[in-house]
């Protein structure tokens, strides 16, 4: 059974059909890339999976459980976690508190009022900060981190809940080549614990870390499968050449 199965996803905004019967499948421990020219519907598809948008038609299931109409907190409990394209760290909280906030999300209101898990989550928080090279900046406000570090912090926060499927929307946007390479290194070990669906413009980055790929154009799936297979597809070449 695939981890994520989206079937016939259609999203219509007024007169615009952003997605037209798009299918998407991600398996366990698979890194799956979602690419396409600007306006092809990849971010809309990712948002439909995350619950930031609801499809006009089609179904979405995670590990066999239908989440098509589930609100974001339910999707989070089903094992989904997202990092949006625009970084949305909490700028007035410390780096440490940002991660703690993500880690403690499963606690009850009473548990949070009594700060029951604060001590227990300390080590996990520090581990995540160390993994994403933010340990030395833990007491600084998240808002003063560089753009690249904010992206890392947000990935750390998205991973805090140990999701089954991590959704990343352009995680390397605005990064320097060094930061991009470092991001690839930071993401690679995640494969042992979860799957990933990643929207990205940087094809080299996608080729480096993904196992499979889905290509969208004008809201429709043009090709989907292992990277090499998709790369050699005549239809995909046509799409990219026509937009070059």
């Amino acid at each position: 059974m695939p981890l994520l199965e989206a079937k016939g996803i259609t999203k219509i905004y007024g007169a615009l059909t952003a997605l037209d019967k798009a299918d998407l499948m991600v398996r366990d421990h698979e890194f799956h890339g979602l690419i396409g020219p600007n306006g092809s519907g990849k971010t809309t598809l990712l948002k439909c999976v995350a619950g930031a948008e609801f499809p006009t038609a089609g179904t979405i299931a995670v590990a066999g459980r239908d989440i098509t109409n589930a609100m974001p907190p339910e999707r989070s409990r089903a094992g989904l976690s997202i990092k949006f394209q625009i970084t949305s760290v909490l700028p007035q909280l410390s780096v440490y508190d940002n991660v703690l906030l993500a880690l403690q999300a499963q606690d009850s209101i009473l548990g949070l009022m009594l700060s029951r898990s604060r001590r227990a989550l300390h080590e996990k928080t520090m581990d995540l900060l160390a993994r994403f090279r933010l340990e030395s900046r833990r007491d600084e406000l998240a808002g003063v981190l560089s753009h690249g570090q904010q992206q890392w912090l947000e990935i750390a926060m998205a991973l805090a809940r140990e999701p089954k499927l991590l959704l990343l929307d352009e995680p390397t946007a605005g990064m320097s080549p060094q930061e991009r390479r470092a991001t690839g290194e930071l993401l690679a070990p995640i494969k042992q614990t979860c799957s990933m669906l990643i929207v990205e413009h940087d094809l080299d980055f996608i080729k480096d870390i993904c196992d499979s790929l889905t290509v969208l154009d004008q809201g429709q799936v043009v090709a989907s499968g292992p990277i090499l297979e998709v790369q050699n597809s005549a239809r995909v070449k046509e799409v990219y050449l026509s937009h070059a």
Binding site: G51, A105, Q106, S136, V144, R161
Partner: protein, 344 residues
């Protein structure tokens, strides 16, 4: 502006203000005339109401224009128990006041907050304002609760066979209650729950994707604020010896908003300072210019709110201290070279 790594260890201003005000409040009746003891007691009780608003707006980001509704309904309920059933025990009337505030807040939260999606700011503001207005109008027209005149000549509160007379005794009762509510809220807002509220205030939409059901947290805070407003409403009615429709309506609700904004919302101590100063200015200005004093007060408040959105406390306390830190206290890490760099 980049904050230093060790900023957590910087001197905290708020505890100094808290301790100073507590010491002053404890010894004040020794130096005050009766009128000022009553005045300050009223400030403590209204300060508790302002705290309830601060919790809702300053911490959970919901603009409530209806705090007076919980305050007034609690006051009316306690007054009815005292006048119709001769119940005057403080151990019954204050919990009843709190319970009424809590239940009314829960009913309103059920309509305007606890939906499928988190409520927006305008919806909560209009919903609470309308509720407050409607109930005030109903009270004005309902003879059972005294109509326009309210319920006057309330008996004194009692504790056993002991009468709680207005003056130093009531003063210390109000001070103890205010201190307990303050301490409880201080612990709450510095707990992991407070961290969730800080998250909701800064990135409400993001919180849902972490798995937080934001409307549940907002509903909880709204009800807790209703409980606090209810306790203060019950106390206020017996301090004044009277409860009337004005204690339910938008005028008092708006006054509470001004207390908090003037003093500094989201700090707990700010709204209490704001209550004291606004009432003090109102009193003195009304002595100087009997008819036009609200204009001067209004302009003063406007200047503070426009030029210092963090209120008077914002002049003394940094944003970092205001928001606070929630994690386990750690020794500050030595600054690394990259920590000293300005962000890219």
């Amino acid at each position: 502006m980049n904050q230093p790594v060790a900023s957590r260890t910087k001197r905290q201003i708020i505890p100094v203000i808290e301790l100073t005000l507590l010491v002053i409040a404890l010894i004040l009746p020794l130096f005050l005339q009766d009128f000022w003891v009553l005045f300050t007691t009223r400030v403590f009780i209204l300060g508790m109401l302002a705290l309830s608003f601060d919790l809702v707006w300053g911490y959970a980001g919901m603009m409530s224009f209806g705090q007076a509704l919980f305050f007034g309904m609690a006051g009316y309920s306690a007054a009815l128990l005292a006048t119709k059933w001769s119940i005057t025990s403080v151990f019954v009337l204050l919990p009843v006041g709190g319970a009424v505030g809590l239940v009314v807040a829960f009913l309103i939260a059920g309509i305007i907050i606890l939906g499928k999606r988190p409520p927006n700011l305008v919806f909560v503001a209009l919903g609470t304002l309308t509720s407050s207005y409607v109930v005030e109008r109903l009270a004005r027209g309902w003879s059972y609760v005294g109509g326009q005149n309210g319920i006057p000549s309330l008996p004194r509160l009692t504790a056993g066979s002991f009468e709680l007379t207005e003056g130093p005794l009531f003063y210390y009762l109000a001070l103890v209650l205010l201190a307990l509510v303050y301490l409880g809220l201080r612990i709450l807002t510095r707990s992991q729950f407070g961290l969730v509220l800080a998250g909701i205030r800064q990135q409400e939409n993001r919180m849902a994707f972490f798995g937080y059901k934001v409307q549940n947290y907002k509903g909880f805070v709204f009800c807790l604020a209703g409980l606090i407003a209810g306790i203060s409403g019950g106390l206020y009615a017996f301090h004044e010896g009277y409860v009337g429709p004005g204690q339910l309506g938008p005028v008092l609700s708006t006054q509470v908003v001004l207390y908090a904004l003037f003093g500094g919302a989201g700090t707990l101590i700010g709204p209490i300072v704001g209550t004291g100063l606004v009432d003090l200015f109102s009193f003195y200005l009304s002595q100087i210019w009997e008819t036009g004093w609200p204009i001067v007060l209004g302009l003063l408040l406007l200047v503070i709110v426009v030029f210092r959105p963090t209120g008077l406390i914002g002049f003394l306390v940094s944003d970092r201290e205001r928001v606070g830190s929630f994690g386990r206290p750690t020794k500050a890490a030595p600054p690394t070279p990259d920590a000293r760099h300005e962000p890219a």
